[in-house]
């Protein structure tokens, strides 16, 4: 909390103004001149080309609520409320494409507009101006900080949400023949997703009574050592359920990773591509594919 302990006042303090009185005085001034100061701020915003993703009406509406919240935060020092407001505001404007530097920019502009207004009002009383600024500065800094942090927190929340969504893109376990499952893996695998895939596969083996599983990783660009180990574990766990695993589609990079970590390649059954993998699986299961007649 911004404490005004009075030590910033010079020793010749004649008046007995409490810091809170000063704060009330400047808040009153900011409220009185609300319309004019808000207008000035909006003009500065468009001059510096911020919030270009928003229309004039939207900027005006948001400016009004930001101004009021700003002044209220100065008055009440209720910074939690301000942070909640900032996150709420961010939730609205982030989808509109507003960037962090824009949010920080407009808050600092408002801070500046209000400070100049205070300069103008108290310019004839230097000592009073000093005391007013002593009351204003810490609170204004705190506000700028709170809003910026609130905005960034909201962005981080969105990112986490998106990461979760990506993770949950479930990889289907597909039965293509009796006793034969295919697990096509696409995209980025992190340890958590790898674990999810393994659990899903093992359940699929039991449910479908699969004897052969083809895991195709053509769609996986790279995997680190941890995930490669997960793959090996998946093969081993599948064997414990009586299923043979054929891994297909290893890229050169992944082949390198597997060799580097020293995977016992005798344990891992690999075939170049998915087609080859399915053909081998069919052989293992005793299927034979024959053409019935000439294709027309």
């Amino acid at each position: 909390m911004a404490k005004r302990d009075g030590t910033t006042a010079d020793n010749e303090l004649k008046r007995t103004e409490q810091p809170s009185e000063l704060l009330r005085e400047l808040v009153a001034h900011l409220r009185q001149n609300r319309t004019q100061l808000r207008e000035e701020w909006v003009v500065r915003i468009s001059e510096t080309r911020l919030l270009t993703a928003m229309t004039k009406e939207e900027i005006f509406a948001e400016a009004t609520s930001v101004y009021d919240s700003y002044v209220e935060a100065l008055e009440t020092e209720a910074f939690e409320a301000l942070q909640a407001y900032a996150r709420n505001l961010s939730e609205r404007i982030i989808p509109r494409g507003v960037e962090t530097h824009e949010v920080v920019g407009i808050v600092l502009l408002l801070r500046d507009v209000l400070a100049r207004s205070l300069f103008a009002k108290y310019q004839n009383d230097f000592k009073k101006l000093n005391r007013i600024l002593d009351a204003y500065e810490p609170a204004a800094n705190r506000i700028a900080n709170t809003v910026a942090v609130g905005f960034v927190q909201e962005r981080e929340r969105v990112i986490r949400q998106q990461q979760e969504a990506i993770r949950e893109l479930s990889t289907p376990v597909l039965q293509v023949r009796e006793r034969l499952l295919i697990l096509p893996i696409i995209g980025v695998i992190d340890p958590q997703r790898a674990r999810q895939l393994t659990e899903q596969l093992l359940r699929g083996i039991r449910t479908n009574r699969a004897k052969v599983v083809v895991i195709d990783i053509t769609g996986v660009a790279a995997m680190d050592v941890t995930v490669a180990n997960h793959l090996v574990q998946t093969v081993e766990a599948s064997r414990l359920l009586g299923a043979t695993v054929i891994v297909t589609g290893l890229s050169p990079e992944i082949a390198q990773t597997l060799v580097t970590i020293g995977v016992d390649l005798g344990k891992m059954n690999t075939v170049g591509d998915l087609q080859g993998g399915i053909e081998q699986a069919e052989r293992l299961l005793g299927y034979k594919v024959a053409t019935l007649a000439e294709p027309r």
Partner: protein, 120 residues
């Protein structure tokens, strides 16, 4: 706790119950080998469907059973390992290497019949 050992033709089937103590496992190890000798069995199926956890001692015991039985010229197949148990086992590095496994009793019997059909 006694583990029931049933005879099915040339095979023996031992069904593990859920919570087997170390003493039970040791007792079972001897019992199974004795039964293989007595009945001149070709193979043993160990059904662990009821086990919801497999620790390193149980895992080692299963491997030892398989080795001892192989010394009598017989095959061992472990069946019924649950997905969660399999996952936990590989994370601990317990892979039951060298021991045959199958999904369940039906698959285990199919595997053995297939195998011994050739040598018959």
């Amino acid at each position: 706790m006694e583990v029931p050992i049933l005879k099915q033709g040339a095979f023996l089937i031992a069904t593990f119950q859920a919570a087997l103590s170390d003493a039970d496992l040791n007792h079972l190890r001897m019992g199974l080998v004795q039964q293989v000798v007595k009945f001149r069995s070709r193979a043993v199926i160990v059904d662990v469907t009821a086990m919801d956890v497999m620790d390193s001692f149980a895992s080692r015991t299963l491997r030892e059973i398989a080795h001892m039985i192989r010394l009598r010229g017989a095959e061992t197949v472990i069946v019924g390992i649950q997905p969660e148990v399999a996952f936990a086992m590989v994370q601990l590095g317990l892979t039951l290497e060298g021991v045959a496994t199958a999904l369940d009793l039906e698959e285990g019997l199919a595997y053995l019949n297939e195998k011994f059909k050739v040598t018959n």
